[in-house]
Symmetry: C2
Subunit: 191 residues, 2 copies
């Protein structure tokens, strides 16, 4: 009925889902291997059959999130209904949306793990490549990386500060949306 390989794969999936659910509900501190195992229907030691340690599990969760973002940006890029500035705006807004809807996951996506520091960064590569392609449409290949880096880091900064409560309307008299609009405007004018 269920081969050993299928069973293992489904358990792994259940572990990832459980970890993501706990992360979303209560942050990293709420993700305990015991609870992850319980929600996945296995025992506390079972996760070690699929992940080296707790951090590897969290890294995998973050990597999957990056893959989803990459797919979204890819879909945006290949859209034929949107203009280049619209694609750019949508891509940046997408990042902000992740931060707003899943702040804990967003933080994890930008947290350097002490285990394999390059794992999450590698997973983010696809998203960045797709994003760079959109920027290139707007400012040309030559300046794509320069402006791409500026836009990517700035959009992350906006999101990160909003997520951490450092960007409030009362204090700064502006919003994440307006800041993104300023960025797109500045770059579009330049290119």
């Amino acid at each position: 009925m269920v081969s050993r390989e299928e069973s293992a794969a489904s358990t792994r999936r259940a572990l990832l889902d459980a970890a993501a659910a706990l992360l979303g509900a209560g942050g990293v501190e709420a993700v305990t291997l015991r609870e992850v195992g319980a929600r996945a229907g296995v025992s506390r030691g079972a996760p070690y059959r699929h992940f080296a340690d707790k951090e590897s599990l969290l890294t995998a969760v973050a990597s999957e999130a990056w893959e989803r973002v990459g797919a979204d940006v890819s879909a945006l890029r290949s859209s034929s209904e949107l203009s280049a500035p619209e694609k750019l705006r949508a891509a940046l807004s997408g990042l902000i949306a992740v931060g707003r809807e899943q702040p804990h996951l967003y933080r994890l996506m930008f947290t350097q793990p002490s285990g394999d520091p390059t794992a999450v960064v590698r997973a983010a590569g696809r998203s960045q490549d797709e994003f760079l392609a959109i920027v290139a449409e707007l400012v040309g290949e030559k300046d794509a990386r320069r402006y791409g880096a500026l836009l990517m880091t700035s959009a992350h900064g906006v999101t990160s500060m909003e997520v951490s409560g450092h960007l409030t309307t009362e204090k700064w008299g502006t919003s994440a949306e307006e800041l993104v609009e300023m960025l797109v405007g500045l770059v579009a004018a330049e290119g």
Copy 2:
């Protein structure tokens, strides 16, 4: 010789220093109340006489870091030898420097604590006010907050992504310095 009040104050200071040292060396995970107490020359339960819990201690460490940043930016603002763009550049570079020299501390400064979410943000207020004053010199009072928010969030984004390893020269073909320069240039041209 040493009054009780003096002793308590020096212990509190020693606890903060020990926590900061452990944070700098091994990140938040390396900060255990037991080790903090040991390095401060007290027992594991002593920190509870000065801080409600571990998170309060970390919040205090982050707040003190923000106060130092605030003092630095304030000194920059009142400098008579620097032009407005130079002040701005120096302020933004200062933030990047903190991230490079003390990445764990930098992360903590932008981490929302679950205890009192507003504590660290309040401590950052002074820095932001001083920073806004510098921006106002450049673009005028009217647009200061808009551009200030853009510059502050962008500089944080640059630093954050470099700290987390997401901003590499090989990938993006640029550096934090160059990105700051682009930001200053864009805003100076606009104002």
